[in-house]
């Protein structure tokens, strides 16, 4: 039977990770959250829009990606409601309308906005993201006949005169950025803000630098920055301390692993040399 080697048992690292997350939740540190350029751009874009502008919020929000995409969408939507914008919600996956109704909208301060007049949840459009977004952008009235509650679009004051994406002043997409750049920005040249997964933030910097994006919120960190700018405490700011400690843990693990690797390879080379 193999001898138990605690150094090879990685469950100790799992335990460290659990401590790293729970410690800041029990004893908040309150680290400052510097605001990045991409988040500031998104904030300024919405701030400059006149009150009452029609904004489309399309998303791939689902239960699985809620911790990563939920806080950015909540922060952006809270800002839109605060600025009294008219918001049209659309989903690109089947879960989005349900999770918006059950989890997102109940947690937002709507500042007396009325459904059907100031905001509406149009449900989702089936198909690949590119196809669903293209259908929403160009054939809205053909692919959507009723809103998520079942009310015909013709009876909703907010949808009066809205036929294509050209009728909107701003589009916000929560999810990946290539598809909305292709289907929303490129044909219509309407300002596009994206809220993306943390892992995709570095991938989309070229779009930001090329001027195809008017702002980008990157995962929980971006949500924390945005909440700070808007002035409310949401999941972003609540989780930012835990984010810091877990990232520090991963960085320490990488450095420790490499130091151990250097020690073992140098130690092995020395033993070879003595032979």
């Amino acid at each position: 039977m193999a001898k138990y080697n605690p150094l090879k048992d990685y469950r100790w690292i799992y335990m460290l990770l659990i401590i790293a997350v729970s410690w800041p939740l029990l004893f908040p540190i309150g680290l400052p959250v510097p605001v990045s350029k991409s988040t500031r751009m998104a904030f300024d874009t919405i701030e400059k829009l006149p009150s009452g502008s029609l904004v489309a919020v399309s998303s791939v929000l689902s239960g699985g990606n809620w911790p990563d995409l939920g806080p950015p969408e909540m922060a952006l939507v809270q800002h839109l409601f605060k600025k009294k914008m008219k918001i049209v919600f659309i989903g690109c996956v089947d879960e989005t309308p349900t999770i918006r109704e059950s989890t997102l909208l109940p947690r937002i301060n709507k500042y007396d906005a009325q459904i059907g007049v100031d905001y509406v949840n149009l449900g989702f459009i089936a198909g690949a993201p590119d196809v669903a977004e293209a259908a929403f952008a160009t054939s809205l009235r053909k692919v959507l006949t009723v809103d998520f509650r079942g009310k015909p679009l013709d009876e909703l004051p907010i949808m009066k005169g809205v036929n294509t994406l050209a009728d909107f002043k701003l589009v916000i997409h929560i999810g990946m950025a290539e598809d909305p750049v292709r289907q929303y920005y490129t044909p219509f040249k309407i300002p596009l803000i994206v809220g993306v997964y943390g892992m995709m933030g570095p991938h989309y910097i070229p779009y930001l630098e090329a001027g195809q994006l008017s702002g980008m919120i990157v995962g929980l960190r971006g949500a924390a920055e945005y909440e700070y700018l808007v002035g409310f405490v949401g999941e972003g700011l609540m989780g930012s301390d835990a984010l810091s400690i877990t990232h520090l843990l991963v960085a320490i693990c990488i450095i420790a692993g490499n130091l151990a690797f250097l020690y073992t390879t140098r130690g092995g080379a020395k033993k070879e040399g003595t032979k």
Binding site: R11, Y14, L17, I18, V21, S22, L25, L26, N65, W66, P67, D68, G70, D94, E95, T98, G123, F124, I125, A126, G127, A128, D130, V131, A134, V143, L144, T145, V146, E178, V181, R182, Q183, Y185, T186, P187, Y197, G198, M199, M200, G201, P202, H203, P206, E209, A210, G211, Q212, V218, G219, L220, R221, E235, M238, G239, A242, L243, T246, H247, V250
Partner: protein, 228 residues
């Protein structure tokens, strides 16, 4: 008074986390529950989409041509028949055609022209750091594209260009890894924030302790349920 809803959410969450310890009956239960719920939900949403997009226009007489779309949609299910599976290629071909066309028509402007245009940065600026960065970006983009296009080749110069392209990509992948860590930790923090909330905390500790005891004695318990 035990809140059944919170008990369910905490129990199911911890069932999934037992996978980190070892694969167990809890994990298998959670896995199959997830699959069943996911497909059930998707099916209901599909019916709703068909009703709102196709059935409502057909039944109100606004657009009866959607009957064709519905027939094509039903024909997707012929893929389960060995004799008639070829019929399902037609609706698939429609989806492929639409998807290809929709992606192709804007990809040139959005991903090729705009990106190349954005690479034409000023080589001389008042800020020395910005000048350095601009020159570095232009060189790195060119080297990366060279690396993709001329993966193999002779010559010291082309080899060095490819090497610089490869180093650029390594730095890119490092940054991508940093972003991946952010996402993974975010997903975990989101779950833990929920579990550690005051309403769930005691359920977490109670259910968690019980499951740990069961897992610890799991290997002793399971042979009792196996046929001899």
């Amino acid at each position: 008074m035990i809140d059944f809803t919170i008990l369910t959410t905490v129990f199911l969450t911890l069932c999934v986390y037992t996978f980190v310890y070892k694969e167990s009956a809890f994990w298998r239960f959670a896995e199959q529950t997830f699959i069943g719920l996911a497909l059930g939900y998707t099916f209901v949403m599909a019916i709703q989409q068909i009703q709102t997009v196709a059935w409502v226009p057909i039944s109100t007489g606004k657009n009866v041509l959607f009957i064709g779309a519905m027939l094509l949609g039903f024909s997707l299910y012929t893929r389960f028949s060995k004799k008639h599976a070829w019929i399902s290629r037609w609706p698939m071909a429609i989806l492929i055609g639409i998807g290809t066309g929709v992606a192709m028509r804007t990809v040139v402007e959005s991903q090729i022209v705009a990106q190349i245009a954005a690479t034409f940065l000023p080589l001389v600026t008042p800020d020395p750091m910005k000048t350095f960065n601009n020159i570095a970006i232009i060189i790195m983009v060119a080297c990366t594209l060279f690396f993709f296009t001329f993966t193999r080749g002779k010559g010291k110069t082309s080899g060095n260009v490819r090497k610089l392209g490869r180093y650029t990509l390594m730095l890119t992948f490092g940054a991508a890894f940093g972003g991946t860590v952010l996402t993974r930790m975010t997903l975990y923090i989101g779950r833990f924030t929920y579990l550690w909330a005051p309403a769930q905390r005691y359920y977490l500790l109670g259910v968690g302790a019980l499951m740990l005891v069961v897992l610890a004695f799991y290997e002793k318990i399971t042979p009792l349920f196996q046929k001899k």
